[in-house]
Symmetry: C2
Subunit: 220 residues, 2 copies
DNA sequence: ATATATTTTTAGATAAGTCTAAATTTTTTA
DNA sequence: TAAAAAATTTAGACTTATCTAAAAATATAT
């Protein structure tokens, strides 16, 4: 039996909310993320448990089963590959592709994904710096640092974002902060944790804590 | 308001069944084509009429309105562009792409279609020789000849197929009959209308009436 | 022209995914 | 540890797209 769009979206969200350690996800958290009501989530959880995709005990929160994890990762793989296609081949901006990929990720067909992957040259990361699971379902999250943890004087590489909202990505575009940019922290203001950073050895700019909190970087 | 997958499929099928002259389509014909029951079709027709997408009077069959025609043609445009993508860029065979395109055609986003069209170089025909409507919704059906109407001695160009079934397309592959091939009719058997044809000035082969009936060609 | 056959529509159900309101369970606080 | 608050589940309802069975309309045949 096939999984519906809705079921796939739930699995993907459970995967994302339960994080690296696979901790329990609450009904309310899912209601929030899926923009539905808690009662609707409960109904869906019963169904997913029925299908063996999640571990679910009433009032105890949920975790993915191995089978559910597999489905979630395949959906994530498709989402990220399509995003690469949209940006690299069709010329979309990284701020424009999320919603379209949200639909494309549900197109069934193993062969399609594999051919797309080959066509794109087996990319390892999507346009937002997120890792793309391989065909076997191996997904290794690189351990990046959040910019707020970087000290004055350090030079780091911009590797990804935590917030994927178009408005945030457009803000980064306007600031010249793109994937691969070299960021040197020049100054951190004690009062509001805003910072002065130099981008690619060029212009220096102020960024708020809100921005720093959402930038993933790598020390070199 | 958006149209659902189901609504789009109905509109596309009505377009196809009502042909060039836009003749009325019967409930039963739609039930057949959509693999549903007549009662379900009636329900959907009421809804489509409600939305102003079809002209519908009880017991009288249906036609697309201008608005419905526009939607149908956009879906057809997307279907055929995605088929070009799958064959030209991903390396699928022409016999493998229909079902996948049947899903991709419902992905919403004007911009996506236009960028895809540009990426593909504004193709005029899909892998089966069917014309691709332009961005404004202009769809001109070229008037091809069916191979059964070609006389002995004539040399024609293979331009398209009427049957899109994978089994038929695979049969053509095995026979070396591809789009653009030159077909010379050498002999027609009176008894069963089977024919001997020479492909690209090379091998001669026998084809049944069943095959001839589904080949669209152009006189030169 | 009337009876018969075919086509189409209506009536009443079902499953998926959602909702609100009420009941229940768990957690927190005093 | 008992009361209050928060989280979760249940009950009952709605919408979409489908179904079967029965009724109504149209077409065909004697
Ligand atoms: Mn999605
Ligand atoms: Mn992404
Ligand atoms: Mn379709
Ligand atoms: Mn086609």
């Amino acid at each position: 039996m096939q999984n519906s769009f809705t079921e796939e979206n739930y699995l993907k969200i459970i995967h994302s909310l339960s994080g690296r350690e696979g901790t329990e996800v609450s009904t309310n958290a899912l209601a929030e993320s899926t923009s539905t009501r808690a009662a609707s989530v409960t109904d869906m959880l019963r169904k997913l448990a029925e299908k063996g995709l999640i571990h679910y005990k009433k009032y105890q929160g949920v975790r993915l089963t191995d089978s559910g994890e597999k489905v979630a990762i395949q959906v994530i793989r498709k989402h990220r590959l399509w995003e690469v296609f949209l940006v690299e081949k069709l010329g979309f901006g990284w701020d424009e592709v999320h919603d379209i990929a949200e639909e494309l990720e549900h197109i069934p067909s193993e062969i399609l994904v594999e051919k797309l992957d080959r066509f794109l040259g087996h990319p390892k990361f999507d346009p937002h710096g997120d890792p793309i699971p391989d065909a076997k379902g191996n997904l290794t999250e690189p351990d990046y640092t959040i910019l707020t943890d970087v000290h004055i004087g350090e030079k780091v590489l911009m590797m990804g974002v935590l917030d994927h909202a178009p408005s945030f990505l457009q803000h980064l575009d306007r600031s010249g902060i793109t994937l691969g940019a070299v960021i040197e922290v020049k100054e951190i203001n004690e009062y509001d944790k805003s910072a002065s950073v130099q981008i690619n050895g060029g212009p220096t700019l102020f960024i708020s804590l809100e921005v720093s909190k959402n930038l993933l970087v790598q020390r070199r």
